[in-house]
């Protein structure tokens, strides 16, 4: 066992949390342009209201991208091997998303340590907008 390095992280270690917001329509438009998702429900209030929504709302993949960044900024953009997100609640202009998470698994592989992380982006109401799990392969 002495040849093996010790795990870089412990199960239960917290991902450094980050708040995003208050979110603005401009942020939704910026994400629309960056991603190519031009569904007008995310930037055209008239169309969103005529479809029965109180206003435009954020793209789920926009929240997913914000949530991914907290884990990637911590464990490294090169190291991500899997990112899976589930869409739960809509996100509205003026919402503040708190992105946080923790390590749920650390497994030895031939080529490093496979670290599993569970993540949530919660609205200011406490409701979870998106939840995610990610795995990173850390060298060592």
């Amino acid at each position: 066992m002495s040849a093996l390095s010790s795990p870089p992280l412990e199960v239960g270690a917290k991902v450094p949390a980050k708040d995003f917001g208050p979110l603005t329509r401009q942020m939704f438009v910026r994400y629309a342009g960056a991603s190519g998702d031009f569904n007008p429900m995310h930037y055209d209030d008239t169309m969103a209201r005529s479809a029965g929504f109180r206003s435009v709302f954020s793209q789920g993949m926009h929240s997913a991208a914000l949530l991914a960044s907290v884990a990637v900024d911590w464990l490294g953009a090169d190291n991500v091997r899997r990112f899976r997100v589930r869409f739960r609640e809509q996100v509205w202009p003026e919402d503040v998303l708190t992105c946080s998470g923790e390590v749920i698994s650390v497994d030895r592989q031939d080529d490093g340590w496979l670290v599993g992380v569970e993540l949530t982006a919660a609205r200011q109401t406490g409701g979870v907008a998106v939840s995610a799990c990610a795995t990173f392969l850390l060298p060592g």
Partner: protein
């Protein structure tokens, strides 16, 4: 059209561009230096932007009614470090699965899982996107 499991869309090309990566990073409010410069790496959900370059016939049409269509889950798997600026990826979609569940208020919810494969020009699979699409149950006939 109701595509059957195994249906594949036409393959298309996605050039991973550093400016596009930086634009995506700005939209995700990240100043991570890994997303900048000539060797910029793609953020975990960046490959979604490739759909913009999908020509006619590339997208698998699962046949769900647009008004009842939800994006339930999205997954990205990377078979190594994620792609970098300058790489040319060959992209193709396939319908991986279809299934149904009872709706919470009656009726039937339909699910479809569409996998997008990203390969190098040599054909090596480097990343996969997996979208779970949901068609909610139709409203009751009494409405």
């Amino acid at each position: 059209m109701n595509a059957s499991v195994g249906t594949r869309g036409a393959e298309y090309e996605m050039v991973v561009e550093r400016g596009k990566i930086q634009e995506f990073a700005a939209a995700m409010q990240s100043d991570n230096p890994a997303y900048r410069g000539p060797d910029a790496i793609v953020p975990p959900t960046f490959l979604t932007s490739g759909a913009l370059w999908a020509p006619e016939g590339a997208r698998v049409d699962v046949g769900f009614e647009r008004k009842r269509l939800l994006h339930g889950e999205q997954e990205y798997v990377f078979h190594g470090p994620p792609p970098r600026a300058g790489q040319v990826l060959k992209v193709s979609e396939r319908l991986e699965d279809r299934f149904e569940k009872p709706g919470k208020r009656g009726g039937t919810m339909r699910f479809a899982v569409v996998v997008t494969e990203y390969r190098t020009e040599e054909g090596m699979l480097v990343a996969e996107g997996r979208s779970t699409l949901i068609e909610t149950a139709p409203k009751g006939e009494s409405e």
